[in-house]
């Protein structure tokens, strides 16, 4: 349902040879010639209905840039992304198509709450926005749907009309998830879903999402520096470093039998 080939994002005025001058072989993602930063390059993968793909790597590896490209939050420099809900290259959509896709077909859970929520809206209002943008015009129906989504994401319905800024970090993350799935999208992108949360809260958010993901069978890309998150959620995993995918495969295989030296280090240091 999702097919990504050659996804590339370069920050700065590229000299045209940045990709050759960067990557794991060079040990850097900044081009020595022009100084541009190659956030990610030559990323290829496919995703099936209901499948969860993990993208793991340290900060600066390019995983968040990739997530933003997939969630249509930032422009790619090059590449081709095909998605069932859109006829054409997802990376070449105009603003209008992008707006509609983000409303109804791609849900994003941001690492930074301010990117994902309007903190002075109520929590319910944040979720309702998605429904209203998709054309819901019956107040009672909107309320009912928002209440259901709050229950599904385990946010107390009694807090639904309070300003989002009064919510705890865990609740805000749940509200983002409720918002992301509000219109039953085919794809959800989670960017660092547990960062900044207490360990006990992390586990509950992940459990909730795993249940939800299975119930709704929604294809998911989860980006994290935390191997535990990817191990828990992802069927398959990409390992990224210096803007490139260095290893990919079934999550279990990668965790048990990492081939790339960097992956081995990553797993050893995590355990």
């Amino acid at each position: 349902m999702l097919n990504v080939s050659n996804a590339t994002k370069i920050y700065g005025q590229s000299c045209g040879e940045c990709i050759d001058h960067t990557g794991p072989a060079v040990g850097d993602n900044q081009c020595p010639v022009c100084g541009s930063v190659v956030a990610c390059a030559d990323v290829d993968f496919g995703l099936h209905d209901g499948e969860v793909l993990g993208i793991v790597g340290e900060s600066g590896s390019g995983k968040s840039s990739l997530a933003e490209i997939l969630a249509l939050d930032s422009d790619a420099t090059a590449g081709d992304v095909r998605y069932d809900a859109y006829d054409g290259n997802l990376l070449e959509t105009d603003y209008q198509a992008r707006h509609e896709l983000r409303n109804e077909h791609v849900g994003m859970v941001h690492q930074h709450v301010r990117d994902g929520l309007e903190l002075d809206f109520s929590g319910g209002g944040n979720v309702a926005e998605k429904l209203l943008a998709a054309g819901w015009r019956h107040y009672g129906d909107v309320r009912e749907r928002v209440e259901d989504l709050f229950r599904e994401t385990e946010v107390p319905v009694s807090r639904m009309d309070d300003a989002t800024e009064t919510y705890s970090g865990g609740m805000q993350r749940r509200v983002q998830i409720a918002k992301a799935i509000a219109n039953d999208p085919g794809l959800v992108v989670l960017d660092e879903p547990t960062t900044g949360l207490d360990v006990s809260v992390q586990a509950r958010v992940l459990d909730m999402f795993r249940r939800l993901q299975r119930e709704q069978d929604v294809a998911t890309v989860v980006v994290s520096h935390d191997l535990g998150v990817v191990r828990l959620l992802a069927d398959r995993t990409l390992v990224m470093r210096h803007g490139r995918v260095i290893e990919s495969g079934l999550t279990d295989r990668i965790m048990e039998d990492p081939h790339h030296e960097y992956t081995q280090t990553l797993i050893n240091s995590a355990i």
Binding site: S122, R137, D161
Partner: protein, 349 residues
């Protein structure tokens, strides 16, 4: 439309003193016909045409400084003056009254500079400039209503930046406005907006109808006349052309509501289908009276007068009844003949 004698008078002045001599003459010698220079009038008309072509879309125009303070109808008067010719009849209303001082001041400027006839009768006027009201009498397809606009963008209720809002309009992205309405209902059980009620024009642009009461909002929908909206300070013109669909934003189960009045009849003329304002009297009482002063006067002379009395039996509903228990049915008929009068008290003439 006019010659440029006024400008020529300025051009021929040899010195500032000569110029001042010519200006201190009677009336407004030294100024062009209808005050604005022809270049400006053409520009305002071009913006007006663009606005008509894109109903509800705000068209920027180079608003000139006028001899009225900004915020006092300078957009309206620029628009009116760019439209008026010597054969026009001009009416000015401020909050429903022809006699309010600001209306009188605007009328005086047009009369002095454009030599137009002025009137207080809404059925007589070819151009009506108004602040915050649509007249009670139904307007015809040969009339233009120019509404003065203080705040052009309905989205400013949710975001102060016109730059950001322009982008939202470009993509019909009105979800933030909808969330504001949703949160209104959450907080108050209903939509709290009073005047300046946001409307969707032609199923495309969200528009601020200027601070007319909600009472007047349904009049915008599928009207026979042209509505022009002009903001001098904010330098924008927008329009609702005749027979354009105008729909107030509301939920299916939390509908748009017009103002209600504890007393349903005007204390002066007894009308039960006009917008009333409450008046605190010197003896401590409170009276409800018609806001449209010139129509109230007509009704006092003839209580059976319909709001469409001048339209040869074409009884277009125009404003709801004041008693919410009286059914108000909009006429769904298409075309010119809009069927029988709805809430009008008397028969048609």
């Amino acid at each position: 439309m006019t010659d440029k004698c006024g400008v020529a008078a300025v051009a021929e002045a040899e010195s500032v003193d000569d110029l001042l001599d010519s200006v201190t003459d009677d009336g407004l010698t030294g100024y062009n016909y209808a005050y604005l220079d022809e270049h400006t009038k053409r520009e305002v008309r071009r913006a007006t045409l663009s606005a008509i072509a894109l109903p509800g879309h705000q068209v920027p125009f180079a608003s000139r400084e006028m001899p009225l303070a900004r915020g006092w109808g300078t957009g309206g008067i620029q628009t009116s003056l760019s439209l008026l010719g010597p054969d026009d009849t001009f009416k000015v209303i401020d909050q429903g009254s022809d006699e309010s001082v600001n209306a009188a001041n605007i009328r005086r400027l047009a009369a002095r500079t454009a030599n137009v006839e002025t009137t207080t009768d809404a059925t007589e006027a070819s151009v009506i400039q108004t602040r915050h009201r649509i007249p009670e009498e139904v307007l015809d397809d040969d009339q233009i209503l120019v509404l003065q606009v203080p705040i052009t963008d309905p989205l400013r209720r949710v975001d102060g930046s016109d730059d950001a809002n322009r982008r939202r309009h470009a993509h019909s992205n009105y979800s933030k406005m909808w969330v504001a309405l949703y949160e209104n209902v959450v907080e108050y059980g209903e939509i709290k907006l009073s005047s300046r009620y946001p409307v969707l024009v032609g199923d495309r642009y969200l528009m601020d109808p200027s601070p007319i009461p909600r009472w007047d909002v349904p009049k915008l929908d599928d009207a026979d006349n042209l509505f022009l909206f002009a903001a001098g300070r904010e330098a924008r013109i927008y329009a609702v052309p005749p027979h354009t669909e105008v729909e107030p934003l509301a939920f299916e189960d939390r509908q748009f509501q017009v103002e209600r009045f504890p007393e349903h009849a005007c204390g002066n003329c007894g009308s039960e289908d006009t917008f009333l304002t409450e008046v605190e009297t010197d003896d401590g009482g409170r009276v409800y009276a018609c806001n449209d002063a010139s129509f109230c006067e007509k009704r006092r002379a003839d209580p059976s007068l319909s709001k469409a009395h001048h339209r040869n039996g074409d009884g277009h509903t125009w404003g709801p009844p004041t008693d919410p228990s009286v059914p108000y049915e909009s006429d769904g008929d298409s075309g010119e003949n809009r069927g029988p009068a709805g809430p009008n008290r008397g028969g048609d003439e």
